[in-house]
């Protein structure tokens, strides 16, 4: 087993533990921290897959920004002492787990078939494909339209988040 294999096993195990931990934890803060761990491990895997730019963005945006937002909300709402939520096991949940199990087996089987994937002809090496330079070039040529239009989506998020969460909007409760 070479270095990348060892790294994969290490990061993969970390992802499996962190994934289960996120879902399993009673405390939302623990869940969030497991999720951060997960995002860091994913960043590592992206490096292993020679997607350097995405790996960096993963750590900055996901582990840095989005998860901080989560933790901040949890702290703000002081959800820590809500660990006594009734998370009991009932038939409905059993069904959900069964459903998930079937989906997982199906996915694992189909991936295990090793369907041959098309390999593109490209002048770039796999390392270059992950560089900011080439991603940026693609983003500003072929993917220019989605790149520009996604800015409207971000504006929407700003407007929406403010209108929902800002405190001093004057309204009276519905009778």
């Amino acid at each position: 087993m070479d270095v990348s294999g060892i790294l994969f096993v290490f990061l993969g195990a970390q992802i499996i533990v962190a994934t289960v931990g996120t879902v399993w934890s009673r405390n939302p803060v623990t869940s969030a921290l497991f999720l951060v761990l997960n995002f860091f491990a994913l960043g590592g895997l992206y490096l292993l897959l020679e997607a350097q730019f995405i790996a960096v963005v993963q750590v900055i945006v996901y582990a840095g920004a989005i998860m901080v937002l989560f933790l901040f909300t949890i702290m703000l709402l002081n959800l820590d002492n809500e660990r006594a939520l009734a998370e009991k096991f009932d038939l409905r949940k059993g069904f959900a787990v069964l459903l998930g199990g079937v989906l997982l087996v199906e996915l694992l089987y189909i991936i295990g078939l090793k369907t041959p994937i098309p390999i593109k002809q490209t002048a770039l090496t796999t390392v270059q494909l992950g560089e900011a330079k080439y991603i940026g070039r693609e983003l500003l040529t072929n993917f220019l339209f989605p790149f520009e239009i996604v800015s409207i989506l971000l504006l929407l998020a700003v407007v929406g988040a403010i209108v929902l969460a800002k405190k001093n909007f004057t309204t009276s409760p519905k009778s």
Partner: protein, 481 residues
């Protein structure tokens, strides 16, 4: 071939206008002004789509596919947005919600719908879907002091994001199986090679994501709660514009893979069964509802089922029928929700029995509501009948007679709960004091009702347009440009 900017002018104009609205609201913060400008914007974008109707082609490195279909869909979205914004004013005033942001968010939602219908690439499909959905989450939760509105937003958000996750995983598996994100290139890759299991499971997840958005059974459970808790005009918007957009995207996706799907008996069986289940469950659940908002929510599930019959038929006639249906449905359902909103905001009247004797006080309003109800039930010669007739006829042509029959039976059942409202309005004596409503809104509803009647009496013109629109929507690979 017209250039990119000219082709996608309605979308670009809509995107630009939404920025203008934000600036306007930020500088002046006058909700009434933002509202007028939002309505102007809808009219402008709809007008641009009418003018640009014959234009067709791919734009911006094959990211957008524009044709008659997209223009027709844009007109439906703008119509839906315009009507919703128009009837929101009074409701929001009564609920004491004076945010200009409401109109901005509704406008951006329409931009998302337009992207969804025009998507020629999975990236645009995903961004459009999310833009529409995120805007709708905000609209659902806009009555911030009302717990039910918060809960509706929460539930809609969690399930919507979950559905997006499924859809996205589907996209990634399709990408893996074919190596492409552009829809038409995926179709070519599938034709030259063969559809692997990886592709099929990806496709299944993609369709599941859409079924969530159109609230098809078994993914419909969120619908009544969300419609019930949301501001009523927002519920009207979700059930018309958003549904029309999801169906447009679904039509774009299935026509794209038409050669593959026509040879797949499983696909036909699965989508027919879902259509059947949706019609049956939606109608039976609607029978038991006393609350009109919940009744309309289940009725919108049932109508998604009727439209899915057109998808199951998988013929141009079926798709053309769906387009006509979404147009009529937009008018009649916004009309029905609008009347509910009008009466709800005054006195919190939401039960069918609260409508007793409405005809005596407000003959015009009651008459319009009766037209909407009868049209939703599919009574000839109203627009709703023609829509149903078109999709069911397409199903019969596609040798799905059993499905069409089931649809006819289901709509016969639905007549009960629609006619009950009409019965209360006309046959019962009013209890309590008179329901007051401004005369202008009665007039507006009467106009919508007239449009529904006209669509039923003279459908040929619109049907010619939808047929033509669908020809334009053919794949570039097939028409060869």
């Amino acid at each position: 071939m017209p250039n990119d900017y000219l082709l996608s002018l309605p979308i670009l104009a809509a995107a630009g206008w939404s920025v203008l609205l934000i600036i306007l609201e930020a500088m002046l913060s006058r909700a009434a002004l933002t509202r007028v400008f939002a309505m102007l914007g809808f009219a402008l974008v709809g007008g641009l789509s009418v003018i640009g109707f014959p234009l067709q082609g791919l734009a911006f490195s094959e990211m957008l596919r524009i044709g008659g279909f997209q223009h027709f869909a844009n007109i439906i979205f703008c119509l839906s947005g315009l009507l919703v914004v128009a009837l929101s004013e009074k409701y929001l005033d009564d609920e004491n919600v004076h945010y200009g942001e409401y109109y901005i968010v509704a406008f951006i939602s329409v931009v998302g719908m337009m992207l969804l219908a025009a998507a020629a690439n999975m990236a645009i499909l995903f961004i459009g879907l999310e833009m529409m959905s995120i805007a709708l989450y905000v609209l659902a939760g806009l009555m911030r002091r009302d717990v039910r509105s918060n809960e509706a937003a929460m539930k809609y958000f969690l399930l919507g994001a979950f559905a997006s996750g499924l859809l996205l995983y589907g996209i990634s598996l399709i990408y893996g199986a074919t190596g492409e994100l552009a829809l038409h290139k995926i179709a070519i890759a599938i034709q030259t090679g063969s559809a692997s299991m990886l592709f099929w499971i990806g496709f299944g997840l993609l369709i599941t994501g859409f079924l969530f958005k159109i609230s098809a059974v078994p993914f419909h459970q969120w619908t009544p709660d969300v419609y019930d808790g949301s501001p009523t005009p927002a519920a009207a918007f979700m059930s018309t514009g958003a549904k029309a957009a999801a169906f447009s995207a679904l039509i774009v996706v299935v026509t794209n893979f038409s050669t593959l799907l026509q040879n797949s008996p499983t696909w036909s069986l699965v989508i027919s069964s879902i259509a059947l289940a949706t019609m049956v469950v939606g109608n039976i659940a609607a029978l038991a509802q006393e609350n009109l908002k919940r009744m309309l929510a289940y009725s919108s599930v049932a109508h998604a089922g009727y439209m899915l019959v057109g998808i199951a038929a998988a013929t141009p006639d079926g798709y053309s029928g769906i387009m006509f249906y979404t147009l009529v449905y937009t008018l009649m359902n916004i009309g029905a929700f609008g009347v509910v909103a009008l009466l709800e905001s005054k006195e919190n009247l939401l039960l069918a029995s609260d409508y007793a004797g409405l005809f005596k006080h407000r003959p015009m309003l009651a008459g319009a509501m009766a037209v909407f109800m009868l049209s939703l039930a599919g009574v000839p010669p109203l627009g709703g009948f023609i829509g149903k007739y078109k999709v069911f006829a397409a199903a019969v042509d596609a040798k799905l007679t059993w499905l069409a029959l089931a649809g006819v039976l289901a709509s016969a059942v639905s007549a009960y709960y629609y006619l009950r409202v009409v019965y209360f309005m006309f046959m019962r004596d009013p209890v309590g004091e008179a329901i007051s409503a401004p005369a202008t809104s009665s007039l507006a509803f009467a106009l919508i009702a007239v449009a529904v009647v006209l669509l039923g009496v003279f459908p040929t013109e619109i049907l010619r347009i939808t047929d033509a629109a669908l020809k334009f929507a053919q794949l570039p690979t097939q028409t060869g440009f």
